[in-house]
Amino acid sequence: MKPLLSIQDYKAHFYTRRGIVKAVNGITYDVYPGKTLAIVGESGSGKSVSQLSYLGLLPAPPLKIMGGTVQFEGRDLLKMKEDDLRKIRGDKISMIFQEPMTSLNPYLKIGSQLIEPLVIHRKQNKKEAWKAATQSLERVGISRPSHAMESYPHEFSGGMRQRVMIAMALTTEPKLLIADEPTTALDVTVQAQILDLLKSIQKETQMAMILITHDLGVVAGAADEVVVMYAGRVFETGSVDDIFYRSEHPYTRALLRSTPRLDKLEKELPVIPGSPPDLIAVTEGCPFYERCSYQKEICKTEFPKESTLGPKHKRFCHAEKLS
C-alpha cells in the first residue's frame, strides 16, 4: 500500500533571541490510509512542532524549515504556495487540538464555526453547510444537535467541546486527521469515549490518523504504529506490539517503565532520571546520552544510524542488545 503521508528527513528550527531551538531534527516515517500512527514522547520533544510546522500553522519567523520533504498524496507540502497549502488545511488534512476549552471561538455560535470548512472548501452555501454540520454533530454523539448549533462554546463541557472539534474536523471527510493530545485535558472516562469515537469514525471512513500523545496508555488502545520521539529525533518506530513488547531502545523502555499499567499495581512509578533536553543545546550526538544507562563514548558525538529489527520495527541506538 502507498503511504498517504511520507515524511523524509524533515527538519524545522526556531530562530529565537535566545538561540536556535532545534525542535525537529530529521524525522522519517510514513502514514497509511485507515491506520493510526501515534507519536509519543515527553512534553517538549517536538511532537506538535513536527506536525504543525509543515502545515503552515506556526509563525515563521521564528520557525524555519531546514530541509527534508513531506509528501502528501505525492505532492511535497514544503514546496507548496501558502494559498495551496491553506486549501488542503481543513479539507484533506484536518486537525484537533489539546485544549477543547480554548480551541473554539467563544464569541461565535458553534454552528457558525462548524460550517466554515464546508463553506470554504466545498463551496456550499450556508444553509446546506448548516444541515451537513448538524448531521456531523449527531454523528459524534451530541444530543439535540440543532440546539447545539445555536449555542456558544461556553455552554458545553470540555468533552462535549472536543466532540464538537472532532465533528468540525470531519465535516469535509479528510484523508488525514492530526489529533494533537486530543484527550490530555479530559477526564479519564471521557478520554476513553473520545478515543472510541475517533476509532469508530476511522473504521467508517478509512482516514489516516496521526495521534500525538505523551501518554503510552492512550497509544496502546488506539494506535497501529508508534513513533517514539525525543529532542526532535525519532528513536524507535514499530507496530504497537513492537514498541510495547519488543522495544530495543533505552528511552522507550524508560518511558514504558514510567507508565502506569493495569496488570501491575506499583506503589511508585520510576521516573526517567535527568531532565528533558534543552533543544537549543542539541548536538550531533544522541540527545538521550546523558540520561541513558547504556551510554557509550560514540553516543556523545554521533547519532546512531537506523537499524531494522522487524518488518516495521526500526531503532536508532548504538547499544548492543538491551538487557
Binding site: L55, G56, L57, R86, K87, I88, R89, G90, D91, S94, M95, F97, E99, T102, S103, L104, N105, P106, Y107, L108, K109, E116, P117, I120, H121, Y152, H154, M165, M168
Partner: protein, 306 residues
C-alpha cells in the same frame, strides 16, 4: 440579558441622581460669594428685590424643595446671570453644539484609533507598529490645552488652511474635533493593538487557520469581535471624558457649547446653570455607560447580566 437587569440599572440611578442634586445644590450655595456679590454698584434695595425675585430670601431648605418641584416638572429654573433666559433655553442652545463636537471627536478617534491599532497589531514590531504607537504616546501625554494651540498654530496661523475659532462652517469643526479626539484616538489605538494581539495569540485563531480560512476571514470573523471588546468597554468612559473634556476645547476655540456655560456659571455662581449643566453631564455619562454595557453583552455571549 434580562429586563430585570435593565430595570435594576435604572433603579440604582434614582438614589444616585437624588444624591447628585442634593450635593451640587448645597455645595454651590455654601461656596463663598453668590450670584449678585460681584455687582458692587447695586444698591441694597435692588439687591433685596433681586433676591426676592429668585427666592434667595427664603430659607435654604425651602429653596431646595422648590428646586425639586421645578425639576420634576422638567423646569431647571431661570438663569441668575443671563437676564430673561432660562436654563432650559441655554441647554437647548448649547447642548447640540457640544454633542456635535463630542460625536465628531469620538467618531474620528474610533476610526483612526482602530485603523492605526489594527495596522500595528497585524505587523507587530515593524515600522507599521512603531510609527502609530509613537504618535499614540504623544497623544496620551499631551494635554488638550497643548494640542489645541499647536494645531491652531500650524494649521490655522502658519498654513492658514483652517479657521481657528467659531462654529459656523464645516471647516470650523475640524480643528476642535481633532483637538478633542486626539488623546482618545491615541488610547483607542493602544487598546486595539493590545486586544487584537492578544486575540490573535489565542488557540481558536490557530483552529481557524487549521480549517483553511484566509487571513482576511480570520481577521474579520474571528479576531475583530473579541479584539475590539476593550475598545467597546472604553467607549463609555471615553464618551464621558469627551463630553466633560469639551470644556477646554470649547474655551480654546471659542465655541458656544455647554462647557463654556458650565465654567462661566461656576465662576459667576449662577446657581441654576451650574445645577442644570451638572445634572445634564451626569445623565449623559450614565446613559453612555449604560449603552456600552448593553453593547458589550451583545458582543460577548459569555457575559450575562442577570
Amino acid at each position: 440579558m434580562s429586563i430585570h437587569y435593565v430595570l435594576r440599572r435604572l433603579a440604582i440611578m434614582v438614589p444616585i441622581f437624588f444624591l447628585v442634586v442634593t450635593l451640587v445644590f448645597f455645595m454651590i450655595r455654601f461656596a463663598p460669594g453668590g450670584p449678585f456679590s460681584s455687582e458692587k454698584s447695586v444698591s441694597p434695595a435692588i439687591l433685596k428685590n433681586l433676591e426676592a425675585k429668585y427666592h434667595m430670601d427664603e430659607p435654604l431648605l425651602s429653596q431646595y424643595v422648590r428646586y425639586w418641584k421645578d425639576l420634576l416638572r422638567g423646569d431647571l429654573g431661570p438663569s441668575f446671570k443671563h437676564a430673561n433666559r432660562t436654563v432650559n433655553e441655554i441647554i437647548q442652545e448649547a447642548l447640540p453644539v457640544s454633542l456635535e463636537l463630542g460625536l465628531l471627536a469620538l467618531t474620528w478617534a474610533v476610526v483612526i484609533g482602530i485603523a492605526a491599532g489594527g495596522m500595528a497589531a497585524l505587523k507587530p514590531n515593524t515600522v507599521y507598529d512603531y510609527v502609530p504607537m509613537a504618535f499614540s504616546i504623544l497623544g496620551i501625554c499631551l494635554p488638550t490645552f497643548v494640542v489645541g494651540p499647536v494645531l491652531v498654530l500650524v494649521f490655522g496661523l502658519w498654513l492658514q488652511w483652517l479657521p481657528v475659532a467659531g462654529w459656523e462652517t464645516w471647516q470650523d469643526r475640524v480643528l476642535p474635533s481633532l483637538t478633542l479626539g486626539f488623546a482618545y484616538a491615541a488610547y483607542i489605538s493602544r487598546l486595539t493593538r493590545g486586544g487584537l494581539i492578544e486575540i490573535r495569540g489565542q488557540e481558536f485563531i490557530r483552529t481557524a487557520r487549521a480549517k483553511g480560512l484566509t487571513e482576511q476571514e480570520i481577521l474579520i470573523k474571528h479576531s475583530l469581535r473579541g479584539g475590539l471588546l476593550p475598545v467597546v468597554s472604553y467607549l463609555g468612559p471615553a464618551l464621558a471624558g469627551i463630553i466633560t473634556g469639551a470644556l477646554v476645547t470649547e474655551t480654546i476655540f471659542n465655541i458656544p457649547g455647554l462647557g463654556r456655560f458650565f465654567i462661566e456659571s461656576a465662576v459667576n455662581r449662577d446657581y441654576t446653570v451650574v445645577m442644570g449643566t451638572s445634572l445634564l453631564y451626569f445623565t449623559l455619562i450614565f446613559i453612555c455607560n449604560f449603552l456600552v454595557d448593553l453593547v458589550y453583552a451583545v458582543l460577548d455571549p459569555r457575559v450575562k447580566y442577570v
